[in-house]
Each structure stands twice: as C-alpha cells, then as structure tokens.
Symmetry: C2
Subunit: 310 residues, 2 copies
Amino acid sequence: MALVTLADIRAAAGLIAPAVVRTPLLRFDDRLSLKPENLQPVGAFKIRGAYHALARLSDERRARGVVAYSSGNHAQAVAFAAHAFGVPAVIVVPENAPAIKIAATRAWGAEVVLVPMARRESRAHELVEERGATLIPPFDHPDVIAGQGTVGLEVVEDSPSVDVVLVPVSGGGLISGVAAAVKALRPAARVVGVEPEVAADAAESLRAGRLVRWPAADRERTSADGLRAEPSELTFAHVRALVDDIVTVTEEEIGEAVRQLARRSRLVAEPSGAVAVAAYLAREDWPARTVAVVSGGNVDPAAYLRLLAG
Amino acid sequence: MALVTLADIRAAAGLIAPAVVRTPLLRFDDRLSLKPENLQPVGAFKIRGAYHALARLSDERRARGVVAYSSGNHAQAVAFAAHAFGVPAVIVVPENAPAIKIAATRAWGAEVVLVPMARRESRAHELVEERGATLIPPFDHPDVIAGQGTVGLEVVEDSPSVDVVLVPVSGGGLISGVAAAVKALRPAARVVGVEPEVAADAAESLRAGRLVRWPAADRERTSADGLRAEPSELTFAHVRALVDDIVTVTEEEIGEAVRQLARRSRLVAEPSGAVAVAAYLAREDWPARTVAVVSGGNVDPAAYLRLLAG
C-alpha cells in the first residue's frame, strides 16, 4: 500500500498555509515542548487535513460541495474549510450529538442533517449520490493524512534535533502524517503514539502486527471522546511502517494532563488533546528533546470545569 | 523626553529572539484577532522587556546580577531571564504574596527576599548597593519599553493593514512600546489602551493631559491584579504622544472575556490579560481588522475555576 510521502506533505503545507495557524512550539519544562494544535481555527489539527482535502479537489468538483459524517472536530473542520472556499457543506450528525457541537458546525454555514446514529454513514453516502458532492473522510484518505502531516513538518522545522514526538492516536490520520514527515526528515527521532488504556486497539494492533478490532462499547469508555475511532487499513499501514511504539494512559492521567496544560501552559485542552502530555507526565525517562502534540481543545464548558476541579 | 523608537524596537527583536515565543495571531471572530502573550515562558509579555533589559547590560555588569521588586509577572520574567543568562537574580517580594508566585520565582533559581510591603522598593535599592547588582524596573525604562514594543512589531508584521490594536494598561510599558512600533509602521492604525473602570487612572490622565494619581486602595479594587500600577513620566510621555484613546471595562466584562477566551480560543487568560478582549466584546463598532493583546495567563487555579464558573 502506497504511503504518504514527504513530498506530499510539503505540497500540503503550501496549500493549507492561508487557512492554518503556524503554531509555535511552547516550552512545557526542560525536556518537553508542546505543539498546540488546539489553537487552530475550529480548535483542532483536523483543519489541516480537511482544508487540504478540499484544496486538492478540482474547482468544478469542489463547487458541487462536500459531505462529512462526524459529531466532532472533523465536522467543524470540514464546515470551516467549505466556508473558506465558499462551497456548500453537508454534515451528517447523529441525533444525540451535543447541541453545542451542532451549533458550532452551523455557525460556519454548513447544513446539518440529523439522523439516527446507525444511519450516519449510509445517509452521508446517499447525500454524495443525490448532490454529486464529495465525501471528506476524517482520516482514511491520503490527502487528509498529508494535511495532518504538516504538524510533523513544522515540529522538525522548529526542533531539528527532536528525539521523540508523542502523538494521540484514534483513526490514525494524525500519527500517519506526522510519522511520514518526521521519519523522512529526522530518521533518528522516535514517533510514539498515545491511546487511552480503555481504547487501546491501535496499541494492541501494532503489537500483533495486524488490525485488532475492539468493540465500540469498549472504546467508548474513555473520556477522550476524540479517540474512539479505530485505524483503517491505510493508516495502519503507516503505523506499522513508521511508528516506533504506542503507549497507553489512564483516565486519571488524562485528567491530570488537562489540569497541567491549563496551569503550566495556559492552554485549554480537551481530554483527547491531552493524552500525549499525559504519557510524558506518566514516565520519567523521556529524552531531552521531546515534543507532545496537543491535538485539540473542544470541550464542553461544564465538563471542562469538572476536569479542572479534579 | 526622548521616546523609544522603531529602531530601538527592531534591535530589541533581534536580541530577545532566542528566549521569546514568536506568538501567532489567532482569529477570535470575523473582526478580532488575538496576540496570545499568555503563551510566553512565564506566561506573560513581561519576558520581552525583562530579557531585553538583561541582554543590554554589559557582560561584566550582568554577571554581578539583577534585582527586581514585584510579586507578579515581572518577578518571574526577571528570574527567567537571569536563569537564561546564567546570572544571579534577587527578587524582593512582599511577605503577603501568594505562595504559588514565590514558588514560581524560586523555580527559576532566583533568590527571594521577603519583606513587609512598605519596605519593598527600599530593600531592592539596598540590595543593588550591597551587591553591585542592577535593578530591572517593571516598566519605567527605555529597554523594557523597547522589549515590550516587539509585540507591536509582530502585530503589524502579521496583520499589515491592522485598524486598531487594543492593549491593557497598567504602568504603561506595554502600550508605550506597542504604540511606538505600530504608529511608526502603520500610522493609520489606532492604538487604544484598556483599563479596569475601577483603576482608570491612565484613562483620566490621558483626558487631563497630565498624570492624575489615584489612591492605591482605589486601584486595588480590580480583580485584574496586574493592572494596579500607574504610569511613570516616561510611559505617560509615550501615551500622550502615541495613544489614541484609553477605554475602560467593568469587572463583569473582564470575567466574561476570561470565559470567552477559554471557550472560543482555548486560552487561559488572567483577568489583567483579558481586558483588551473585554473592551472588544463590550462594543459592536470595532473595525474589521482589530487586534487584542492577551497579555498574560498567570492565575491561581482556584480563582480561575471561580471565574470560569461565572
């Protein structure tokens, strides 16, 4: 299976520059720096892949609009990107999605179609058929992976002698792109994925050398609601080829990382966005130049208050 | 009185680059962008002026150490800068300062001297005499003002057609430097200071055309504990010459801005750091390219929880 290349990621960096924040590395302590992707428009790295996927469509195809199914950060990212390009977006959202996320998606001018959870994917494909629109998948696409890979490109630009890059893992789009960039530019650096202990299907898959599926009900136990997806064949091919290890963190460690990010780095992180920092805090033997990707900061205000109160 | 020039500020930018984060502008909404100085090391813009002041000392003089009196962000900034240069720092702190701030200052290797509040300034001057060290004032010095001015330089670099820059005002070091840079690079832009309504001595001074003093007990009514100082002759000379207006915000507006910054921009801001955003939110007629400086994010965790709970 063809993997995303450094050239793909460099090309993506040029295409997404108008819409994406060039996030700086922020010092957390003597060894750790943060890549604060929670500061992106829509509050997550997802804007990189979504915007890049739209940028790569022909003008004609893009004008017919895009479709996504998601209740999370990907929905907002596609809505934002479609708004930036001035093309229609339809987001298929499960009926039980939080009102705040639906409102955020509508705020970017997207049409929101509410369906029962089980109908999400099929309704999205129907809309693609009906409208001649293009489906923008959350991670299972080379253009999305190349867009997310610009995170890795920037990490090595800003920290050329980086030793370890810690990256949250869910569907695997972010770590696939980051690993493709980092391993090409600095082969000596380790790329380490981080998963919640209660949603550690990718960690188990990497050890097994094949995709191991966990029941959705198991993966949904984690508070890190952005890390409940599972890798695809395409992202797992990147993980097997390029990722050194996937480690896990407990729910308590995730909560502590959210608090530390607020207190020490003045960043609002969602639980999913804090797992890489949680992995750093949980062990003492990380090398001198470690970078953790803080992948997102979209958290319900009441839930965030509870997390901060510890 | 000689004002800080664009050339001074450009020179400062070169000197502080190794220690300071090149903060990006972050979109808040269609009209407002944020300059997130809460993401600096030590959590505030103060590092720019303090590091620059140390960088400008001769090697010999710097080696004899530096002294500051402050219980706030300036103390930590001087401690951080001294640590970066490998020179001793003594910070004179009032006995009633929060333990968390004393610990943060000590964490950078500074010596902390606790004295009664009224002895702060005189004890600092004694230490300068005893040790041959150099006093680094929080705002009343051209090198400090030039360092803070790099905020304005970066704002215009990143938003060349900016219409308005909103800047918190306390002792006036930040707005003096920002105004010197912005007015030199883009004379059409307005530079507007923001003060708490209950500590609006600089606003009254600007209207009166002379420094009007407010009793400390009045200024201390604001929750924005970083905005209780008053301008010096030097900073007020900059304000009179270069600042278009100073507006005020209520304590309620400050709290709401702290909450909006967390929810919409994923930034932890202290009340002092949020006043420019509060001024933006309080009026609807700001022009299309407005920038608000989020000046700091050092807030006690329990106080922050209360602010978020609203």
